[in-house]
């Protein structure tokens, strides 16, 4: 038995190191003063963060990412939330078919979708526009919203809404006062997922965006590919810290939501 315990410990530690270490290893390099992404770090400096916010290519790409991310979040949030509400309605015929259709964009390989979008966007004059990039990102972001909102709607007891109706609330008031507040955590986390998806999207951007819509992820991709610099580590640092913050917020929202749920 002793041997098994040691094996379990060794395996567990190695696996966790394998999963986490790469993310930790990149963090200190964000503060290097060197132009090389190697250890040991000769001196600590903020020059690469400055580069990120001062150099035109980086600054522009950050602004673009914020524009596209915001647009995607709003579009995917609205479309996905509406669809999730519709899917929940018992009147809908073939709900399974709709649900599968809404999840397909997660499954189709990005490059395949990218080629199709490039061809199609050129035909309709959507290529190299912000609207085009936002629509492309929305396609892959919207399944996350549908899943997240559907999950939170599934957690609402129908009888709670019926109770509100029986107490004199009109269907719209029931939505505003009961359904929406209870689904809000799901809508918010769906929106966060949508934004994160847009922020990280490279492949579709590669196919449909022009130089003016170059996003942060796209800029990182070509930097790694063409001339890697510690600006990558600085960007990665921001990404990881951002992820941790978002995860923390999501955790808090979920905790509050589960507190509000009835134990019965």
């Amino acid at each position: 038995m002793r041997l098994i315990d040691i094996a379990r410990l060794v395996f567990g530690v190695l696996a966790v190191v394998f999963l986490i270490a790469p993310l930790i290893a990149i963090l200190p390099l964000a503060f290097t003063s060197s132009v090389f992404l190697t250890y040991p770090i000769p001196d600590y400096s903020m020059r690469w963060f400055r580069e990120l916010f001062v150099a035109d290519v980086w600054r522009l790409s950050i602004v673009n990412s914020l524009i596209v991310g915001t647009g995607t979040t709003i579009l995917a949030g609205v479309l996905g939330t509406m669809a999730a509400l519709g899917l929940r309605n018992s009147g809908l015929l073939l709900p399974g078919l709709f649900r599968t259709a809404f999840l397909l964009p997660m499954v189709v390989p990005a490059v395949v979708l990218g080629v199709g979008m490039q061809v199609f966007f050129v035909q309709i004059g959507f290529a190299n526009t912000y609207a085009g990039v936002i629509c492309a990102h929305t396609v892959v972001a919207v399944p996350f919203v549908v899943v997240s909102v559907s999950a939170s709607l599934a957690g609402i007891d129908r009888r709670v809404e019926r109770a509100a109706l029986s107490l004199g609330a009109s269907p719209f008031t029931v939505f505003r006062r009961v359904t929406f507040p209870l689904a809000l955590p799901g809508i918010l986390s769906g929106a966060v997922f949508a934004f994160a998806t847009s922020l990280d999207e490279v492949v579709l951007t590669l196919f449909v965006a022009g130089p003016n819509q170059r996003t942060l992820a796209r800029q990182m991709f070509s930097t790694i590919r063409e001339n890697i610099s510690p600006a990558i580590a600085a960007a990665a640092f921001l990404f990881i810290v951002g992820t941790l913050l978002v995860a923390l917020v999501a955790l808090l929202i979920r905790r509050r939501a589960s507190q509000a749920k009835q134990p019965a």
């Binding site: 993310l23 669809a83 519709g86 009147g91 189709v108 990005a110 061809v119 992820a217 590919r225």
Partner: protein, 391 residues
């Protein structure tokens, strides 16, 4: 149906409709355009519309009738778009060598003289039925050439499907490589993922939270950041080589990046959560008292594991494997950044055709193959996760 029921049905439809329309326009339509691109061959039909009409009366074996020949001459006189003419010549030449000079002569003759033209007198090639076949074939707006080429096949002069010469294309090799890398990554994920999930389920408190967090954090982190991290670790002067050298385990840096090993390591890291999470949720649903029950019935721990826990967790392993494999074969970013020329998968080739050489037909054909493979795997995955009793 009562009025109220009709109203809720209408309401549901109105809520779902915007997303349905959006996805039809920006998801389904692009995929259809891509598929159309892979089988469309519009140049010939646009350049030679009269020839296309006249071709109906020809049996493809005997000498073409005069009406067909004169329709072709008329088409050549009508073309005023030089770009279209150039495309058409290129298209014909790719089907049959010798068209470039032949067309040059014929177009000149057609535009200098009026009235019917004796083509055989301009060039003896026009007496060769194969050239006429190529002209007539080119007027078909649809072609299976790209789809065949994607699998390293072509049609020979008689229309039979034959394999391309070994040096002409490497698509099959790339397809096999894609499946191979996908399989290796899937197996690596399963070998790490299964014990990992079992370990996580067997622990409680902060230890379990740590193991779960270690899976979720990478899942939530940007794919680019993870790829960049591996780039930094694996490079020649990266942390791994530095550590190994300073420990004296190796004398020179190991080649870890721009090769197959690096791609497999990085992709395993990226896709491991997709293996661990399905297995974990399956294991979590297994009642805690099954192992004690097996022990009470006289099974030693390893036999209880083999006969009870392993078969029950297999379901999770299968759905995790499908998920990983399906995602892996469509991967682009990680092989593109970490892999060398010999590690590029089908997505890279598609991207090369689409962005690098603007060959939509080939990009579409390879895309169609990848799309069909992925959807088939997804259908199996869907079936597996829906029928709970199965496996």
């Amino acid at each position: 149906m009562s009025e109220a029921a009709a109203r809720t049905r209408l309401g549901a439809l109105a809520l779902v409709a915007p997303l349905v329309l959006f996805l039809a326009l920006f998801f389904a339509w692009p995929l259809v355009s891509m598929l159309k691109e892979s089988v469309s061959d519009p140049v010939g039909s646009r350049a030679f519309p009269l020839t296309a009409e006249a071709a109906a009366g020809w049996d493809r074996q005997s000498e073409p009738p005069d009406a067909l020949k004169q329709a072709f001459v008329e088409d050549l006189r009508n073309i005023d778009d030089q770009q279209l003419l150039g495309d058409a010549v290129r298209r014909l030449n790719s089907a049959q060598n010798g068209f470039r000079t032949l067309m040059g002569k014929t177009v000149r003759a057609a535009q200098e003289q009026s009235g019917p033209l004796d083509l055989a007198a301009i060039d003896a090639k026009w007496t060769d039925v194969r050239f006429w076949r190529a002209v007539v074939d080119s007027t078909n707006p649809y072609t299976d050439r790209n789809l065949l080429a994607a699998l390293d096949y072509q049609r020979d002069a008689t229309g039979k499907v034959v394999a391309l010469p070994a040096d002409a294309s490497a698509n099959t090799a790339i397809l096999i490589r894609t499946l191979w890398i996908g399989a290796v990554v899937t197996i690596a994920c399963a070998l790490i993922g299964l014990p990992y999930a079992m370990l996580a389920v067997s622990l409680t408190g902060w230890k379990r939270q740590l193991l779960l967090g270690a899976v979720l954090l990478p899942l939530w982190t940007s794919l680019l950041v993870r790829t960049a991290a591996w780039f930094i670790l694996l490079q020649e002067k990266g942390l791994i080589n530095d550590t190994l050298i300073s420990l004296g385990l190796i004398s020179g840096p190991l080649p870890l990046i721009f090769n197959r090993l690096g791609v497999v390591i990085a992709m395993t890291h990226v896709l491991l959560p997709f293996m661990v999470l399905p297995i974990y949720s399956v294991l979590l649903a297994i009642p805690k008292n099954l192992m004690p029950a097996a022990a009470s019935l006289g099974a030693p721990p390893w036999r209880a594991f083999l006969r009870v826990l392993l078969p029950l967790s297999l379901r999770g392993v299968v759905s995790g494997s499908l998920l990983v494999f399906m995602t892996a074969i469509g991967y682009y970013i990680t092989p593109a950044l970490i892999g060398g020329a010999q590690d590029q998968m089908i997505s890279s080739v598609i991207a090369f055709y689409a962005i690098g050489s603007a060959n939509w037909g080939m990009a579409g054909a390879l895309g169609a193959i990848l799309l069909v493979a992925t959807l088939a795997l997804y259908a199996v995955y869907g079936r597996l996760s829906s029928d709970r009793g199965g496996l």
